[in-house]
């Protein structure tokens, strides 16, 4: 079998090809900026060239003289519209055209709209601003930062988790480390550019924009525009990569909607790659101090994790990954603290494994250092500290297959052949290093609605307002319906990415497969119940059968006794052409307002560390081989193996692809990705894909994904743990571990680059 389509093991679904694959290889998948729109006008943004101050004056004459210029939306033009409200549906509270204050470099100062893209771009570049400029604060260590504790200040952060008496335990520990780590600014850079196309049909507003959260955006955009949400529609049938960047709506959306209203015609604004760095969200730079104390036998007795994160002046965005790092191992005592450092920057936002990428990187690099300090194999060190319950609330894990992941990945990687001595492994001019680290991601689930229709012809139409960001959600939702209704996948059409469909939660936090499949399961089971009741009713084709177990397969109801009836005949007996069910799924522990909040675009998340009965996480183990040239210090990662356990796998093909992509993201985090901040101007420097390095094809060679079977009925009805974000957690620490093994140099600041290995 092809490596891209792993043979399913226990509790793993068939590797069906993606249902939208043909559209994607023929250019027929329409991303929002591709949707045909008649009489389109083009918009282009003008953005600030300072990071702090005020716009004193805008000179628009040159721009207005551009032939084809239709309109310029700027200060004063948004006064009848409300400012954005910072939260899950909105990237920032900054209303860039609501007042002339500049909070960050690259802030929108105007939108030029013209008959053609070329004219709009020309006009936008001719808009001249005069500023009253203040000296900006760029980042950590810049004069003028303000540091606040996340706990109690940011509603996004629950608490600084702790357990036991860290100070006493650390003081008494036989072996200890106290180290600092850092991760850089990063931008998602999906290949699809950010865009908004807006048009009005009377009082109704339609927006085509790549979105991971069409329901949340509909409600938030309606609030900004003071409209009934029923009159706003967000359309996003295909999304060209998101990684969190298309989760919260940015202020551009309302500005383009206002432009379309003023002109009375559709307006499209495609943000340039460069402008996206300042007008979208990003992963802020972080710093960490980690202290670990252990007994000589390797048992950890004390763990402290302090984190610092940069955010903007107006918004206290926080990732705060200490909830996961504080529960990772069986520490005797835990102390954590998260601080936010405010600077003159755009508001950060979630980016693939927002808390875990930086925080678990720091923890796992420290774990490797600790293993070295103990003179212990790093895998053995983790095995010794495997907990029975999590250390904070002493709750059990709903399932935890970390050691199985380590064992299977280590075997596939050939860890036993590693010479533990630093610098001992060489291949010609290449120093060889091998390292490993743990991946963890919380398993959450949210309320979700879905509509499923089964027709007398055996066709199924599945509708759910979730989002195909490349995860394969259309395919796995279709697979769930196929399995429960006994209908072949090619008879199922799956509609997603439209706020007029039944609402789904934001496609973030690795919740989509669990949430959507649980809703689809509920709708399908309601159809099954109706079919069985009709089939077994008096005069029905299965009359006489009562409360038997049954299944649907190949268009038939098959009872355990062996009796069967065609679904077509059951529907005919019911005198209907179709059965349609609208299901609303709410997870265990949901509040009475849970479904109302789903429709309001603010769904509650359950699972992870939130539940009373247990904590819920997916785990993995990653092993990497690095090769470092002894002369140039060029760093390559020729081999990487990851083993992951994430409950039920709906489709081994799409699951493997997501984990593979995550692992390659992890390699990018280790070696490539960093947005450089010019500290003088608080400005991003490398604002394009030439200078913002991401892994390319030649950076990746031998990559293996192992799907470790795991069954977990506690997480959600579908038994699914998310895995879209699991793969890139820990990878960078595994690379740092391997670099240390090869060279004896412990690199604590990402990304790891040649220059750090030269000294």
């Amino acid at each position: 079998m092809d490596v891209a389509a792993p043979r399913p093991k226990e509790n793993q679904g068939e590797p069906l090809p993606r249902v939208d694959a043909r559209l994607k290889v023929t250019g027929q998948a329409h991303y929002p900026a591709d949707l045909p729109t008649a009489n389109l006008a083009h918009g282009a943004l003008a953005t600030s060239s300072i990071a702090r101050g005020k716009v004193a004056k805008l000179r628009l004459d040159d721009a207005r003289a551009v032939p084809g210029l239709l309109d310029i939306v700027t200060y004063g033009d948004m006064d009848k519209v409300d400012k954005p409200k910072f939260g899950n549906s909105s990237a920032t509270s900054i209303g860039p055209l609501h007042d002339r204050t500049i909070f960050h470099d690259g802030q929108i100062i105007a939108l030029a709209v013209a008959e053609t893209f070329e004219a709009a771009e020309e006009a936008a570049r001719l808009i001249r601003a005069e500023y009253e400029e203040d000296k900006p604060t760029a980042s950590f260590d810049s004069p003028g930062t303000k540091t606040v504790a996340a706990a109690g200040k940011s509603p996004m952060f629950k608490e600084d988790v702790k357990a036991g008496d860290f100070d006493a335990a650390f003081a008494a520990a036989a072996v200890k480390i106290d180290q600092r780590y850092s991760t850089p600014t990063q931008h998602h850079n999906p290949i699809e550019l950010f865009s908004t196309t807006a048009y009005w049909q009377g009082d109704q507003l339609v927006v085509h924009e790549p979105s991971q959260n069409v329901t949340g955006w509909k409600v938030e955009l309606a609030r900004q525009l003071k409209m009934d949400p029923a009159n706003v529609r967000i359309v996003s049938p295909f999304i060209g990569g998101a990684f969190g960047s298309k989760g919260p709506m940015t202020p551009r959306t309302a500005i383009v909607a206002v432009a379309a209203k003023r002109l009375g015609r559709p307006v499209r604004c495609v943000t340039s790659r460069m402008q996206a760095f300042g007008t979208q969200t990003y992963r802020a730079e972080t710093r960490h101090r980690i202290r670990i104390g252990a007994r000589k036998d390797g048992r950890i007795t004390a763990f402290a994790h302090e984190g610092w994160e940069v955010t903007s002046r107006p918004d206290l965005y926080v990732v705060g990954g200490t909830s996961a790092t504080g529960r990772m191992y069986g520490y005797g005592s835990v102390l954590t603290h998260v601080s936010l450092v405010q600077a003159d920057r755009n508001t950060p936002g979630y980016m693939r494994s927002p808390p875990e990428t930086p925080y678990v990187y720091a923890l796992e690099n420290a774990m490797d250092e600790m293993a070295v300090a103990l003179g212990m194999d790093p895998v053995e060190f983790r095995r010794i500290n495997e907990p029975k319950t999590e250390p904070i609330g002493k709750k059990p894990f709903s399932s935890r297959s970390l050691i199985q992941c380590y064992d299977q990945a280590a075997a596939a990687f050939g860890w036993a052949k590693r010479d533990p001595k630093v610098g001992a492994m060489r291949d010609g001019d290449w120093l060889v290093g091998m390292g490993c680290a743990t991946a963890i991601y919380p398993t959450a689930v949210a309320p979700c609605a879905a509509r499923v229709r089964l027709t007398v012809d055996g066709d199924v139409r599945l509708q759910c307002g979730s989002h195909e960001i490349g995860t394969g959600i259309r395919t796995v939702a279709g697979q769930m319906a196929s399995e429960r209704l006994g209908v072949a996948i090619d008879k199922i059409s799956v509609e997603m990415g439209d706020s007029s469909l039944p609402p789904a939660p934001v496609s973030g936090g690795s919740i989509s497969t669990a949430s959507v499949c649980s809703a689809v399961l509920k709708a399908c089971d309601a159809i099954r119940t109706k079919l069985y009741a009709a089939a077994t009713a008096e005069g029905g084709p299965l009359a006489g059968s009562h409360n038997e177990e049954f299944d649907l397969a190949d268009g038939k109801i098959v009872a355990k006794s062996g009796a069967s009836a065609k679904v077509e005949d059951v529907l005919k007996a019911m005198q209907v052409g179709a059965i349609e069910e609208y299901a609303e799924f709410a997870p265990k522990g949901a509040t009475p307002e849970a479904l109302k909040k789903l429709y309001a675009g603010t769904p509650e998340f359950h699972g992870g560390d939130q539940d009373e009965d247990s904590v819920k996480y997916a785990f993995g183990a990653e092993f990497v081989e690095v090769r470092i040239n002894r002369y140039t210090r060029e760093i390559r990662v020729p081999r990487i193996v990851g083993a992951f356990a994430a409950g039920r796998i709906m489709n081994t093909r799409t699951a493997r692809s997501q984990l593979m992509g995550g692992m390659i993201w992890g390699i990018g985090q280790a070696l490539h990705e960093a947005t450089e901040v010019d500290r003088r101007y608080a400005r991003y420097v490398n604002r394009d894909l030439q200078d913002y390095l991401v892994p390319v094809n030649a950076d990746i060679k031998d990559l293996q994904v192992i799907l470790v079977p795991e069954v977990d009925h506690a997480v959600n009805p579908a038994g699914v743990k998310g895995l879209g974000e699991l793969g890139n957690v820990g990878t960078a620490a595994a690379v740092a571990s391997a670099v240390y093994h090869a060279t004896g140099k412990r690199i604590r600041d990402l990304p790891i680059r040649v220059e750090q290995l030269l000294v």
Binding site: A29, P190, L193, D688
Partner: protein, 206 residues
């Protein structure tokens, strides 16, 4: 980090092409981004006068009246309605806009439409047969799950066909190197290599 391979831009290398437009801009600001020059384009109306351009795209003839600044990419997407070719950076850095011009891979964002007058352009929409049968490279991308979000995919497929026809798909290492001008942010790279390996034989004959 590997450097993206140097794709040809209508006979000019990307590097030369970029250098050429920058120096040309000093005397004749063709690009909007150079409009900061002393005399704004607004005072030079001639440059904006549309030029009638004949393009052959997927074996069909198009006669378009285009702004001279319109890229081949924007001509395809905004003027002809062939949106399969994608814009990922507009700077020749990501490869999403790759098309074939006279059989060779070209970054359509770095090529003005008027430069392609009379040339044969093939886009992702022109690969499958009229009866719906997919090009072997398209089928291979499905078989090996060589995409996730699918946005870079048209460019990857066009580039893969160009790569094979250049003779740069002889080894896995070659494929990795010569496909590195096409960024896949979902990172389907190993699957893309597998797809090119599967389809290279049939593509050579196609």
């Amino acid at each position: 980090m590997s450097q993206p391979s140097a794709l040809s831009t209508n006979g000019l290398s990307r590097r030369k092409f970029m250098a050429g437009t920058v120096s040309a801009a000093a005397t004749a600001p063709l690009l909007a981004s150079t409009a900061r020059a002393e005399a704004p384009i607004a005072t030079q109306p001639k440059l904006r006068q549309p030029v009638v351009t004949s393009l052959r795209i997927n074996k069909q003839a198009y006669e378009l009246s285009l702004d001279t600044r319109t890229s081949l990419l924007d001509a395809l997407r905004d003027h002809i309605g062939l949106t399969g070719t994608k814009k990922g950076c507009d700077h020749g850095q990501c490869g999403a806009c790759t098309v074939l011009v006279d059989g060779k891979r070209v970054l359509s964002c770095l090529s003005f439409a008027v430069m392609n007058d009379g040339k044969e352009v093939t886009t992702i929409e022109g690969l499958a047969s009229a009866d719906g049968r997919l090009h072997p490279m398209q089928q291979a991308f499905i078989d090996h799950d060589a995409f996730q979000c699918g946005y870079c995919t048209p460019g990857q497929i066009m580039s893969a066909i160009g790569c094979v026809n250049e003779g740069h798909a002889e080894s896995e290492n070659d494929i990795r190197e010569y496909m590195s001008g096409n960024i896949c942010r979902c990172a389907a790279y190993p699957n893309i290599v597998a797809a090119v390996l599967q389809a290279r034989g049939e593509t050579r004959g196609a």
